[in-house]
């Protein structure tokens, strides 16, 4: 009985909401007819891509965004640093502007004296993602140092931490005991700081990416440059400290002689394998996070697409869209953890493989 009442109540509220929204929709209906064709692809790529400013919200016609520093080094004009709001809406500042089409669409380009339009030699602008990296890094360092500070004033016989520090300890020890120790094997202490840093950097960046407003929202781990750097770090950790046995297995593996002697078939495959591993790491993380963001954005876009299909369909699809978005966000929360876990685990496994010792057959 009680359950039934609640359900009826919820339904009424829902209908009222839709009803209240209908006249609003009707009044703006005429305008929307004109620009009804929404470029979903544009919206999605806009959100998951990089930008020179941090767009927070659009209220009416007013764009609220945080200007970020543009740092460019041009062959002709030398070093330049200025805030991005000077390039707003295609404005030109010192010969620099943001290209609206062509190969460098969305990037800062300069007009040379010859009339050519090219990219500056070096573009080290603190873009949205670069700023996101800095914010996440700062946050990560603060959190971990805050946690580690607790331990400095404690003795072994003191009680274990509670609350936030306890949760962090649990997470750290989960990675430490669950991934690093078993996967790396001997000498795991040497790799622990890197693997933990990678895990928490990816995890925190993933979570921050899921927060839709300012400090979060930058698609950091869904950008290939970031995952590439992480994978290169793993590549270095694997190959620079590889044992003699590891390199022997790469260059002279235990296979029949004809597979490696006249034509070094297996060694070539093995050397190729050295590079496919970090490549797989790069693409896996990047693609997972990017796809997650795309799906959420696409689901949100359903609201705007179906608005032009009439009030009833638009209203009901809004509900569907919100429910799906909530579901996807929960899923992404899981993915945020899983991808950080997988990256760390694979890195640890690759490192462990490079630490093989010679064993007699």
């Amino acid at each position: 009985m009680n359950n039934h009442t609640i359900r009826t109540y919820l339904l009424t509220v829902l209908l009222c909401l839709i009803g209240a929204w209908l006249p609003l929709h009707a009044s703006s209906h005429a305008e929307e007819e004109e620009n009804a064709s929404i470029d979903i692809k544009e919206i999605i790529f806009d959100h998951i891509g990089d930008a020179y400013e941090w767009h927070v919200a659009t209220i009416g016609d007013k764009h609220v965004s945080i200007p970020l520093p543009v740092i460019v080094f041009s062959k002709e004009k030398g070093f330049h640093a200025f805030l991005s709001h000077k390039l707003h809406h295609g404005e030109i500042y010192n010969g620099f502007h943001i290209a609206t089409n062509g190969d460098h669409k969305g990037k800062v380009v300069e007009s040379l004296s010859t009339g050519e339009v090219v990219r500056p030699l070096i573009d080290l602008s603190l873009t949205k993602i670069a700023t996101g990296i800095l914010i996440n890094s700062l946050l990560l360092v603060s959190i971990i140092l805050f946690v580690s500070r607790w331990y400095k004033h404690k003795e072994v016989y003191d009680n274990a931490p509670r609350g936030f520090i306890g949760v962090m300890e649990m997470l750290i020890m989960m990675v430490y005991d669950g991934i690093i120790k078993p996967s790396v094997g001997k000498d795991y202490e040497r790799y622990t700081p890197y693997l933990l840093t990678a895990f928490f950097f990816i995890f925190l960046s993933n979570l921050m990416g899921l927060i839709p407003i300012f400090p979060g929202g930058a698609n950091v781990t869904g950008n290939i440059a970031i995952t590439l750097v992480l994978a290169i770090c793993t590549f270095i950790a694997v190959n620079v400290f590889g044992t003699r046995e590891y390199w022997r297995e790469v260059l002279w593996p235990d296979v029949p002689m004809w597979m490696k002697c006249p034509i070094p078939l297996m060694p070539v495959i093995e050397i190729f394998g050295l590079f496919t591993k970090p490549f797989a790491l790069t693409v896996r993380l990047f693609a997972n996070i990017m796809a997650g963001h795309s799906v959420i954005l696409a689901l949100v876009c359903i609201i705007f697409v179906t608005q032009s299909m009439g009030p009833l369909l638009g209203g009901s699809m809004t509900v569907v869209s919100v429910l799906f978005t909530i579901f996807m966000n929960c899923l992404e929360l899981l993915v945020a953890f899983i991808q950080a876990y997988v990256f760390t685990m694979l890195s640890a496994v690759f490192i462990g493989m490079s630490r093989v010792e010679h064993h007699e057959k």
């Binding site: 669409k105 080290l124 971990i144 072994v156 750290i172 933990l196 840093t197 950097f201 750097v229």
Partner: protein
């Protein structure tokens, strides 16, 4: 596509910030925490081991104390028994001694009494004899003033002797 070409600026910023983050956390962050937790684990293991040992020791101590208690009780019993024996013996001895002493004293007293009695009897004898002699003297002195009287006496005495 733009998505799949890593941006040089981003590579630079990522490399820089990740490097700094890694350096800072590797120096002051994670090792502090993992070392502490490892140490704590070791400490807990040691404490458990120590507790186990202490328990075993406690068991031993308990058994030992029980044995000690039993022994003490046995000893107490023996001592008590000994004490009772001693007491009985002392009392017996005292009694014996008192008896002999009493007997001795009694004997002495009796001898003294005997002695006194004999003395007294002797005294009485002597006095009686003296008195008899005196009486006899007086009687004789008064009755034997004449010869006839003296003769009468002699006669009577002789008669008596003859009769005897």
């Amino acid at each position: 596509m733009d998505l799949f070409t890593p941006d040089v600026g981003l590579l630079f910023w990522m490399l820089l910030s990740f490097g700094v983050v890694f350096f800072v956390l590797a120096k002051w962050g994670f090792p502090v925490i993992t070392r502490m937790v490892d140490d704590r684990k070791r400490f807990i293991d040691q404490s458990l081991e120590a507790a186990r040992k202490a328990n075993a020791k406690l068991e031993g101590i308990k058994a030992e104390s029980e044995a000690l208690l039993a022994q003490a009780r046995e000893e107490q019993r023996l001592i008590l028994k000994d004490a009772a024996n001693t007491r009985d013996r002392i009392i017996e001895e005292a009694r014996e001694k008192a008896r002999t002493e009493g007997a001795l004293m009694l004997e002495e007293a009796r001898q003294q009494i005997q002695h006194e009695k004999e003395n007294a009897i002797r005294d009485i004898h002597r006095q009686t004899a003296e008195m008899a002699v005196e009486v006899a003297e007086k009687i004789i002195r008064t009755n034997l003033t004449t010869v006839r009287q003296q003769m009468d006496l002699v006669e009577r005495l002789l008669d008596e002797v003859e009769k005897n």
